[in-house]
């Protein structure tokens, strides 16, 4: 490999952080001390280059320890992993949680995304700014910055404190006021108020009718024994009884479709991977939950982590995978701790690793942490991110089932999709399919936030309508519902008079909206719609990976036009700017490589068409 390094050298702490992950270097060629035997050592062949996927973990290691990634540290990582530094720089700067410039060890991420905005984070932001100065500036050992959705919308507004060190600490503070935000910036992390039980995010907790959420608030999420006492690992046992083809048959009969947004039949996906002759097969669990307004996966991961581990094991067994990757978004410190604990316990009990349950099936799961990039939740960008590349989506075909992670056949499923496999195996495919509607089977999780009395994750059988869901969540005193954002930033707005839409894939599609990731963000008359739209546009502009022109340019143009319109200074006339928005939006929808660009105009379009945004000269 051709490697050219600048002179910067890693300091002892940076080296130690990397060495803790990768082990000690074995020669001068990979960053160790040069000794005379080195010229007999080869490095740079397939073996050295095959560790490229350790780049993201190595960047995390340094960022976690030091708080930022210096040129010397980057050089050292590149020497260790045989990666051109310019290439690795491109990766390091791809992620929002990393910094390649010096910064304090403590960083406070204040969520300014839609749910938090609807919950009034703007006042908190102003308060923090008055005290700590503008975002991104060292304010005496701490720096604060604005953040996209932190996935804690049920307690909005939210802040996340990350503190580098050994160990690195992460803590969510929500709901956060100016005072709590300043405390989070200054007080030792361990002294901050503990995060509430994840069960509090499930208003229905304990309801015997729950399927996916039934153990949350009931079983101890840190105990494998308690998980088994509540029906855990029955599904895996059943899977071994059915055999891989039997499992796929049940999942197919259950008519399970992906819950990540695309609603692709899971049985067909599994079957396609199982049939691929290429070896090995990989399983990827997409836990990069970053659609603004979405937090259901977080609640599952924190509240019932063993369920995901078991479900991944079943999926791997059915599709012939021996290695699974759990790609978890970097902003979920508690989910990470719970999952690490779950994996360790499962390994200790022989439920992961070699010869699981004595069935001759080997499988293990590796957690890979994202580092702040919405696009990495796209099903092919996630591969790039795991492989140590920039998380850029790939053109399809080839589809992941054929050439996915490391170019091999790959099952990639969302967390919610996977945990549905457990009730399918418990009840049988046909019994599962009996719940819901003929084409949308089973139950669905909804992330309800905004202007409701009891925000949180709700589980309802498919077919219930939006009105029922909103009634469950309750309306706050004196609040009048004006609109609902369905499906998150990539979704669309509907009017208050449209709440009878049935919550099924087909029903929402017929109504010109989508379930997406299950976001239901209720807005009342107090909300600044223009501000929300601007935030959505800013989000897409920031999160566009920049790979394809329609999205890279289109998201910028969209934001600019919205800024003009909300500022009351359209280019020419309001009609002209609206026409421009439509044209740019259509170009993004038609020509972007992936779903990010294709959906970046959805919410804005629906706000204009359904809510009548910008119909008057001044915004509503």
């Amino acid at each position: 490999m051709d490697l050219h390094f600048l002179d910067a050298v890693a300091d002892a702490e940076e080296r130690a952080a990397v060495d803790e992950l990768l082990g000690e270097p074995d020669s001068g060629w990979d960053g160790g001390q040069r000794h005379l035997d080195d010229w007999r050592t080869t490095r740079g062949g397939h073996a050295a280059r095959s560790r490229r996927d350790q780049l993201l973990p190595a960047l995390h290691a340094v960022n976690d320890r030091v708080g930022w990634i210096s040129q010397g540290a980057l050089n050292y990582i590149c020497q260790r992993l045989t990666i051109p530094p310019a290439d690795a720089y491109g990766v390091a700067t791809f992620y929002a949680l990393f910094s390649v410039r010096p910064r304090p060890k403590r960083v406070v991420h204040l969520c300014t995304d839609i749910a938090c905005k609807a919950a009034g984070v703007d006042a908190v932001r102003a308060g923090v700014r008055a005290e700590l100065g503008p975002p991104g500036r060292d304010a005496g050992g701490v720096v604060w910055q604005e953040s996209p959705c932190l996935g804690v919308c049920e307690r909005a507004p939210a802040a996340l404190v990350l503190e580098a060190g050994r160990p690195a600490l992460g803590h969510v503070v929500a709901p956060v006021g100016t005072e709590q935000a300043l405390l989070a910036a200054r007080a030792p992390v361990v002294e901050l108020a503990p995060e509430p039980d994840p069960a509090l995010a499930v208003p229905q907790a304990g309801d015997p009718g729950l399927v996916l959420l039934r153990r949350i608030g009931v079983a101890d999420p840190t105990s494998l024994d308690d998980y088994r006492a509540h029906g855990g690992y029955q599904a895996l046992r059943e899977a071994f009884r059915l055999g891989p083809a039997g499992v796929i048959r049940e999942v197919t009969d259950a008519k399970l479709v992906g819950r990540g947004g695309a609603a692709f039949p899971t049985g067909r996906k599994w079957d396609a991977v199982a049939r691929q002759p290429a070896d090995p097969h990989y399983l990827v669990c997409n836990a990069d939950e970053s659609e603004p307004g979405t937090f259901k996966d977080r609640v599952l991961l924190e509240g019932d982590p063993f369920a995901l581990v078991e479900a991944m094991t079943v999926a791997a067994y059915a599709t012939g995978c021996r290695r699974g990757f759990l790609y978890l978004r970097g902003e979920y410190p508690r989910a990470l701790a719970r999952l690490e604990n779950a994996l360790a316990q499962a390994r200790a009990r022989g439920l992961l690793g070699a010869d699981i349950m004595g069935q001759g099936f080997d499988f293990d799961i590796e957690i890979r942490r994202g580092a702040g990039a919405y696009i990495c939740g796209e099903e092919t960008a996630i591969f790039g991110s795991i492989e140590g590349l920039r998380g850029e989506p790939r053109s399809k075909p080839p589809f992941p089932v054929e050439r996915g992670l490391f170019g091999k056949p790959t099952v990639v499923n969302n967390v919610e999709t996977l945990v549905n496999v457990l009730p399918i195996l418990a009840a049988g495919g046909p019994a599962y399919a009996a719940v819901g509607t003929p084409t949308s089977t089973g139950t669905k999780l909804y992330c309800v936030s905004g202007a409701v009395a009891r925000p949180g994750v709700y589980e309802l059988p498919f077919g219930a309508n939006l009105r029922e869901l909103l009634e469950l969540a309750g309306r706050p005193e004196g609040s009048e519902l004006t609109a609902v954002l369905m499906g998150g930033a990539a979704g669309s707005f509907i009017r208050a008079d449209e709440v009878d839409i049935p919550l099924t894939f087909e029903g929402t599609r017929a109504a010109g909206t989508a379930l997406g990731s299950g976001v239901v963000l209720a807005l009342d008359e107090g909300v600044d719609l223009g501000g929300i739209l601007l935030r959505i546009a800013g989000f897409f502009r920031d999160e566009s990976c920049g790979q394809c022109v329609p999205c890279r340019v289109g998201t910028v143009r969209q934001e600019e036009a919205l800024a003009r319109l909300t500022g009351g200074r359209p280019l020419g006339s309001t009609e002209q700017d609206l026409a421009l928005l439509r044209e740019v939006g259509q170009a993004m929808r038609d020509a972007s490589i992936c779903g990010l660009g294709q959906t970046a105009w959805n919410a804005v379009e629906s706000a204009i068409d359904r809510l009548g945004a910008f119909r008057e000269a001044t915004p509503s």
Binding site: M1, L36, D38, R40, T41, G44
Partner: protein, 587 residues
């Protein structure tokens, strides 16, 4: 090899092979196009082994790097052969049907145990075993080499020692397996194919064969000499003895490309008559009595070139040659005419069609086909057939008649470089090329490159530390023949005892005044790869001179003759401005 000079495989096969060995080749820098095919092979899963004294940029891509001592290629190859035999990995089917002298070879390699080989070559025994097993076990394997093999006093033996390995393992004559000397220019292969070598007529037809001579004599209406011509080295010797008094050099700059530059200048200056045909006013051209400005082959002429995979491709004229520069074919035809032969051709295609009539291996390559198929590889015997992309498939034939002559193992002996290391000259200087410069810089010196740093003396951190040499410090390098000054460049890719220079900047640092003219008896190539030198730090006066020289070095570029317009090119120095000879040149 096996009777025809060329790589046996095609680029595509390199991409689809399982193992690639680069032996004495830094293809990453010196054959960057070929290396792209290597990279594709690596991407497809092929393993790469590099045999080179330096940890070159090619070695940095390798799964295994064998850092041998300069000039120990033969013992390493013999040791690998012995290990293949000892491990029972010989391809017996191939050895029995297609080779000769195996038993003698087995006895010949017997002394080269892993330990003995490791001691002589400096390569650890486990690496030798690893390469031996990897090569013998691979389903497909490519063995590629360049000047690290050939630029030795025993270069031909070096090549034969590598061929032995392919014979042992059957890695020749099959798709994906082959032996490939990499060519340094777009048309080195074509030059040899067209008979610009002392012993062959076009199409590798032996000049000693009367039937071949007669065929050419009829076509050219002239007698063909019934003996081999001289190699460049033999020509130099003949000049020394006064037997060769007139030279016509076409596109060659021996003053700067040959070992021991001082001796070359003396020889060329002593000639009765020197004609140089070139697109640049090279140092050699500056010594000439007559300079014939030629046209640039890649853009100012019609014709063909043949690349390293034996692929003949069309080149087309895109620009009118400037000034009085003329097409090579036209110049040669005109000279022949003045010498009393009518060798004028209507077009490049007419020349090509004559070749097709005379060279069976080119017969099927009409211009029409070359254009339609994007070039064709030789052999191509008729217009309606295409041969396999690899050579020597005959060796695998079941029919002994078709199989033909078995390929003999070469019982080659180890012979250390001629320029011995002594206390006075303790360091081994080896030479090579870098990515951004080409040979003596005639063609590349006129272009800027962000990578080009001028000539340096590359040495290991250990040697630098021992001698107190700092990075960038000007150092005097002295061999038994000459002495130059160049800045030191401390390079961890070098190991103690080994130093490296290029010959890209002969006007500033004449590396070839150091090298030894110890030539291979068959190929006539000099041992550029092994010179004994010593390093001296400069005194204050020396250092000041070196600094002045460095200051004038910037911007030194060779002026291309071909871009001069209007007046005939006026060669500098002793040459006279006579673009075309006015009387026949006596030979």
């Amino acid at each position: 090899m096996f009777g025809a000079g060329g790589g046996t495989s095609s680029y595509r096969e390199v991409e689809e092979t399982d193992l690639i060995v680069l032996w004495g080749s830094n293809a990453r820098e010196t054959h960057p196009i070929f290396f792209h095919h290597v990279l594709k092979g690596i991407r497809n899963g092929a393993k790469l082994y590099v045999v080179d004294p330096r940890r070159t940029s090619s070695a940095r891509w390798a799964d295994g790097w064998l850092p041998l001592n300069v000039g120990t290629d033969i013992p390493l190859a013999l040791g690998i052969a012995r290990e293949i035999i000892a491990a029972g990995l010989v391809n017996t089917a191939f050895v029995e049907r297609a080779t000769a002298d195996f038993e003698a070879f087995r006895a010949h390699v017997e002394p080269w145990t892993l330990a003995a080989t490791a001691a002589e070559t400096g390569v650890p025994a486990d690496l030798i075993r690893e390469l031996a097993h990897a090569y013998a076990r691979a389903d497909r394997a490519q063995l590629c080499w360049t000047l690290g093999i050939t630029e030795h006093h025993n270069g031909t033996d070096n090549v034969r020692s590598l061929i032995n390995l392919s014979l042992l393992t059957g890695h020749v004559g099959r798709y994906g397996s082959g032996l490939n000397p990499l060519r340094g220019q777009n048309n080195v292969q074509g030059g040899g194919d067209m008979g610009a070598i002392p012993n062959r007529l076009p199409g590798f037809q032996d000049i000693l064969d009367p039937a071949v001579r007669e065929k050419f004599a009829r076509a050219w209406r002239a007698n063909i000499q019934p003996y081999y011509g001289r190699t460049l080295t033999q020509m130099f010797e003949a000049m020394d003895h006064g037997e060769l008094t007139t030279v016509y050099a076409i596109g060659e700059n021996p003053v700067q490309s040959e070992a021991d530059a001082g001796a070359t200048i003396k020889r060329l200056s002593g000639l009765d008559h020197l004609v140089v045909q070139d697109i640049f006013l090279t140092r050699t051209a500056q010594l000439a009595d007559v300079v014939l400005p030629a046209s640039a082959a890649w853009c100012e002429t019609e014709g063909t070139v043949t690349n390293s995979e034996r692929r003949v491709q069309r080149v087309r004229k895109a620009l009118q040659a400037p000034g009085e520069a003329r097409d090579d074919i036209e110049i040669l035809g005109e000279i022949a005419h003045r010498l009393g032969h009518d060798l004028r051709y209507e077009s490049a295609e007419a020349v090509w069609n004559e070749l097709r009539a005379l060279s069976p291996m080119h017969r099927g390559m009409s211009y029409r086909r070359l254009e339609a198929e994007g070039g064709l590889q030789w052999p191509c015997y008729s217009e309606d057939t295409t041969e396999p992309s690899y050579l020597h498939g005959r060796l695998w034939a079941d029919d002994p008649v078709e199989r033909g002559q078995p390929a003999p193992f070469g019982l080659v002996e180890h012979s250390l470089p001629v320029d011995e290391l002594t206390e006075e000259y303790p360091l081994r200087l080896t030479t090579g090329r870098r990515l951004d410069s080409y040979n003596t810089g005639v063609q590349s010196g006129g272009f800027n490159s962000p990578l080009r740093r001028g000539e340096t003396l590359d040495l290991s951190p250990e040697d630098a530390r021992a001698a107190g040499i700092a990075d960038g410090e000007p150092i005097r390098i002295t061999s038994r023949r000459g002495s130059v000054v160049a800045p030191a460049r401390i390079d961890p890719a070098m190991r103690p005892g080994l130093v490296f220079m290029t010959m890209h900047f002969p006007d500033e640092v004449d590396t070839n005044s150091l090298t030894i003219e110890a030539t291979d008896p068959v190929a006539g190539t000099a041992e550029y790869k092994a010179t004994a030198v010593r390093l001296d730090r400069l005194g204050p006066a020396d250092a000041a001179a070196a600094e002045r020289a460095a200051a004038t070095r910037a911007g030194a570029a060779v002026e291309p003759v071909a871009v001069l317009t209007g007046t005939p090119p006026a060669p500098r120095g002793p040459a006279r401005a006579e673009p075309v000879p006015t009387r026949p040149v006596a030979g």
